[in-house]
């Protein structure tokens, strides 16, 4: 085997055992990155189209506002959907209504420690799976621009948490439409969704660090230590919250779109 071929095999550098294969794994190591690409790809394609739609994000009768458009802040928002007011003027058609909030939500997920693992493996193949050689000749990780920006994750966490408070208010409104207390399947979906989003945000590694992880002496900060202990338990489930909340955002949005467009009626449980 010549030097070029050895280099191509990934790990056969001079001095190492020359095996001549990118990997000797016999399991289906490719399945996980494949599923990740499929699910994340569907989500990216769906939201990419959805944020450019200017209809069907608000159900006036039941106060349902899709989390992808909350808060709606411009004069282009349909009446009733902008419950925080409209500080922004009419937006031209090529600017999505959630142009301010979507980068925050996308940035929070894109810089998330779990999603980084997921897309570095599945989209960038760096590496595609453990002990499977990556195809890149050089690697600098997160040492330089643009990936050094991943270190801004905590700022996306702060901003996304503010949006989550607004999302929580949206859920409250969905249980109190203009006719008084009442809820339907849409309200429950919004509630489940916001619960999963809180789970995702609170289990965030940056949240864990800010709460207590940065401390050197837990014994001097008993409350922060207690909070850190609880968040550490949530943190162990961060991957699950990441996927469940991703799907719940999309399902909630699809449901509200369908009700708002008149394709289906909301299944009312009370009121």
């Amino acid at each position: 085997m010549d030097g070029t071929a050895r280099q191509r095999a990934g790990t056969d550098f001079p001095g190492r055992a020359r095996v001549g294969a990118r990997t000797l794994r016999t399991d289906r190591w490719w399945l996980q990155p494949l599923v990740t690409v499929a699910v994340l790809g569907i989500f990216i394609a769906y939201t990419g189209v959805r944020i450019f739609m200017r209809d069907y994000y608000w159900v006036d009768e039941y106060n349902y506002l899709t989390p992808l458009f909350s808060p709606c802040l411009s004069d282009s928002c349909v009446p009733g959907s902008a419950h925080l007011g409209t500080p922004l003027p009419e937006l031209p058609f090529f600017i999505p209504l959630p142009f301010l909030i979507f980068p925050i939500l996308a940035g929070f997920r894109a810089t998330c420690y779990y999603y980084r693992k997921a897309y570095y493996r599945s989209f960038w193949l760096s590496p595609p799976a453990c002990a499977v050689a990556e195809p890149h000749k050089a690697y600098s990780g997160e040492t330089r621009f643009p990936l050094i920006v991943q270190n801004a994750h905590r700022y996306f966490f702060y901003a996304a948490s503010l949006l989550l408070l607004i999302n929580s208010y949206d859920v409250l409104l969905a249980f109190f439409p203009d006719t008084g207390f009442g809820f339907g399947l849409g309200s429950l979906l919004l509630l489940v969704n916001v619960t999963m989003l809180w789970g995702y945000s609170l289990s965030c590694h940056s949240c864990r660090h800010i709460t207590g992880g940065r401390l050197k002496h837990f014994s001097k900060h008993p409350l922060r230590y207690k909070a850190w202990t609880i968040l550490s338990k949530l943190n162990a489930r961060h991957m699950q919250f990441a996927w469940i909340s991703l799907v719940s955002v999309m399902l909630t949005d699809v449901y509200i779109l369908a009700v708002s467009a008149g394709w289906i009626s909301d299944l009312r449980i009370i009121g």
Binding site: G10, T11, D12, F13, G15, R16, A17, R18, V19, T23, L24, R25, T26, D27, Y113, R116, K117, Y120, R121, S126, P127, C130, A131, V132, A133, E134, H136, A138, Y139, S140, G141, E142, T143, R144, L147, I148, N151, A152, H153, R154, H205, S206, R208, H209, G213, R214, L215, K216, H217, F218, S219, K220, H221, Y225, N235, A236
Partner: protein, 251 residues
């Protein structure tokens, strides 16, 4: 119950080598290391393999089994079927010496580059006092048996030999995290971790955690917290400002 198992073992040295086929008796309750020893005893007396405790505590028998970094002594034959062919190679990140034995001195060189525990000045070794809750977080990292499977699987050096100069690897970044979290350690290790030991190369793909035979949560409990500590020191202007105003570092 015994059966004849099919094995493929990499044999060779730095000059070259190849995977050779063997058929070896397998008995109930055995691990891969038992099979390697039987192979030595019956068919390949000069087969080189490093081992010691046979209990998953010395970290000597690290190798790659069907492409996955594992301890030979902790890989049960019962996890395979009788029809499986089991391929065993040396660790593929380090220079090979012979057969299944590699030169892991890279790891010792990296260990030496990390400054030792730095207690407060004027406190003698017998006078260290600390609360259990302050040290228990880093005690997880003390479970490390230095098998170097995490170092082997990490693609930063596995797939890029040129990164070995600037990247300490997960085992030693975990060591830095252990010291940085230690209640009595007074050295600022955050900038060191990033600038000298290559923490920024880690893209948290968690292979180190996946292969750790001691089940240490290397990524979640050491590398990511250390990355966050580096952010505190190097990338977060608010934390930097806060530390200047309050004049406190080691809270």
């Amino acid at each position: 119950m015994s059966y004849q198992g099919h094995f493929r073992i990499w044999r060779g040295d730095v000059a070259g080598g190849e995977i050779q086929d063997f058929t070896v008796e397998v008995n109930e309750g055995e691990v891969v290391l038992d099979i390697i020893h039987r192979l030595q005893a019956t068919q390949a007396g000069d087969l080189a393999v490093r081992w010691n405790c046979k209990a998953g505590k010395c970290g000597s028998c690290s190798a790659e089994i069907n492409g996955r970094p594992r301890l030979l002594c902790m890989t049960r034959m019962s996890t395979f079927t009788e029809d499986d062919t089991i391929t065993v190679t040396p660790l593929r990140t380090f220079p090979v010496i012979r057969d299944l034995v590699t030169d892991v001195s890279f790891n010792y060189a990296k260990a030496r580059e990390i400054p030792a525990f730095a207690p407060p000045k004027g406190v003698a070794a017998g006078d260290y006092r600390m609360q259990q809750i302050d040290v228990e977080r880093s005690q997880e990292f003390r479970k490390c048996i230095e098998c170097f499977l995490c170092q082997d699987v990490c693609h930063v050096v596995r797939d890029h030999e040129d990164n070995k100069d600037s990247f300490a690897g997960p085992r030693y970044l975990m060591r830095i995290a252990e010291l940085d979290m230690h209640p009595l350690d007074e050295m600022d290790r955050k900038k060191q971790a990033q600038d000298e030991h290559g923490l920024g190369y880690c893209n948290i793909t968690k292979c180190c955690t996946e292969v750790c035979p001691e089940h240490i949560k290397i990524t979640d409990n050491a590398l990511i917290p250390m990355k966050e500590r580096v952010v505190d020191r190097k990338f977060d202007p608010l934390v930097w400002l806060g530390s200047k105003i309050r004049r406190r570092e080691n809270v």
